[in-house]
Amino acid sequence: MYSAEVLDHFQSPRNVGEYTEPDAVGEAGNPVNGNSMKLFLHIDGERITGARFRTFGCAASIAASSKLTELIIGQTIEEADEIRNDTVARALGGLPATKMHCSAMAADGVHAALSDYKRRLEETLP
């Protein structure tokens, strides 16, 4: 059902956790009655220097969250902004058709976090 890469990220997820002082936070999914993810970023100017996540969801959504953090750490905001619904799935070597929404949730998470970052920037502007 799942590729070895998916299983690996599910069993040994990278970058689980939170930051006490994140530069951006994004939420995605349905926190009331579905999968949900919370993404915490450290951003240094234009570059994502750190990412952590928490996810309630199926194996694919945990693996997707984990893979996402790997992908974006070191990326510029512009690069991370390019992440599409299927980007994480492809990076994982594919997901079952019925699990593509897990890849989409990860994409939603990073976009939410980047929006949060932009909002914070605007707020700190005079």
Partner: protein, 387 residues
């Protein structure tokens, strides 16, 4: 790696004795049971013997048993069969919110075709109130369909009382007994049941064969039309080997029901006790007493069901969950939601369904891994827990 199967409500392995009895019907006795030559007649004899065996387990007469391709077809035959044949008497059906999808989807199909359906709620243990059934009956009611034992939580309905309500009102009563037959006693006629669905693969028989009990005199329209098989109730060349296997498995289940129930109850208690000792924050779903002997449904808030299953699967443990994360989103189980569970708790449930092959060692093996698995997922989760 050890492999421990605790998903017997999903399906069971065929017993050796059952498979052995089936074997000759694949090549030596391979005839079509409707053929009048000896190749056919030797199959006919076997099928009629199986009919007696299946009738035996629900104290019915062999002539009231019609073989089908499984529990789902039996439910369809019963519900659509009554609906089509009794449309002139009314268009109202009463069921519960926690039925199997076979029943619920027949009902919703009929809703699109001029029928109205009342979906009765259940209490927090999953029980339907017989009085609420009585209250729901109108002069248009032609069928009450309430399951015997629930597949997810194991709760057993008071079908004798519902049967009495149905008889008094002169309304047909169907019960989906796919999960209970062979596990707890049930006498169809005494329970006031007019139609009762069975499936072989839940009681160590083959997949793809089931039966519908139709009390003598009950008027239903066939679902599958064609040749004059099964007393013209169900057309199609008989699945001889499957039917023979169903017969033997039913007979064995009937014979061993008591001892098996004791065995399962002991294991279930051990599992429940170990969960209580070793895992903080959990909720048992289902009725504390009126339940199948081998079914235990537990929610572990913070850990999602599908992820729990896969984690256990990687340890060789097969269980199932109350969620099906398939088509675009995870859907919490309609059964757990009907109990009033918070959706997140419903999404965090596991169903352990024990079977005859399970041992204390199996339970211990599961409990050697479950606390870690739950803890690990909670550690990743967005959902805060104390644990």
């Amino acid at each position: 790696m050890d492999r421990v199967y605790m998903d017997h409500n999903a399906t069971t392995p065929i017993r050796d004795e059952v498979l052995e009895t089936m074997m000759p019907y694949f090549h030596e006795k391979f005839g079509n049971a409707s053929s009048i030559h000896s190749f056919g007649q030797e199959c006919r004899v076997g099928i009629e013997e199986a009919r007696e065996q299946v009738a035996g387990i629900i104290s019915a007469r062999p002539g009231e048993i019609y073989f089908t391709s499984g529990g789902t077809e039996s439910d369809n035959l019963a519900i659509k069969g009554v609906a089509y044949a009794n449309r002139d008497k009314g268009n109202h059906i009463i069921t519960s919110q926690i039925e199997h999808s076979a029943v619920l989807n027949c009902c919703s199909f009929l809703e699109g075709r001029g029928f109205t359906v009342t979906y009765l709620p259940v209490n927090r243990f999953g029980l339907v109130d017989a009085a609420s059934v009585a209250d729901a009956i109108t002069d248009q009611t032609i069928l009450i369909t309430i399951m015997h034992a629930n597949n997810e939580i194991g709760t057993i309905q008071p079908i004798e009382r519902i049967g009495q309500v149905a008889r008094e009102a002169g309304v047909y009563f169907h019960t989906d007994a796919v999960q209970s037959v062979g596990k707890v006693p049930i006498a169809a006629d005494i329970a006031g049941v007019d139609l009762l669905s069975l499936s072989a693969h839940k009681l160590y028989g083959p997949k793809g064969v089931g039966a519908l009990y139709v009390r003598k005199g009950t008027v239903i329209e066939p679902l599958i039309h064609g040749g004059a098989h099964e007393g013209k109730m169900r057309a199609g060349t008989e699945n001889t080997a499957g039917i023979i296997g169903f017969g033997v498995s039913a007979e064995l289940a009937q014979f061993e029901m008591d001892s098996e129930a004791r065995h399962l109850s002991v294991l279930r208690r051990r599992l429940e006790d170990l969960v209580a000792c070793r895992i903080p924050e959990y909720v048992i779903n289902g009725h504390p007493e009126q339940h199948l002997p081998g079914t235990l449904n537990v929610s572990f808030p913070g850990a999602e069901g599908d992820a729990l299953i896969l984690s256990l699967d990687l340890k060789g443990i097969a269980v199932s969950s109350g969620s099906a994360c398939t088509s675009g989103a995870i859907e919490p189980s309609h059964v757990l939601m009907a109990l009033g569970l918070d959706p997140r708790a419903a999404l965090s449930s596991l169903r352990f369904s024990l079977g005859r092959g399970n041992t204390e060692e199996d339970v211990d093996y599961v409990m050697a891994h479950l606390p870690d698995v739950v803890g690990r997922l909670r550690g990743i989760s967005t959902v805060a827990t104390q644990g």
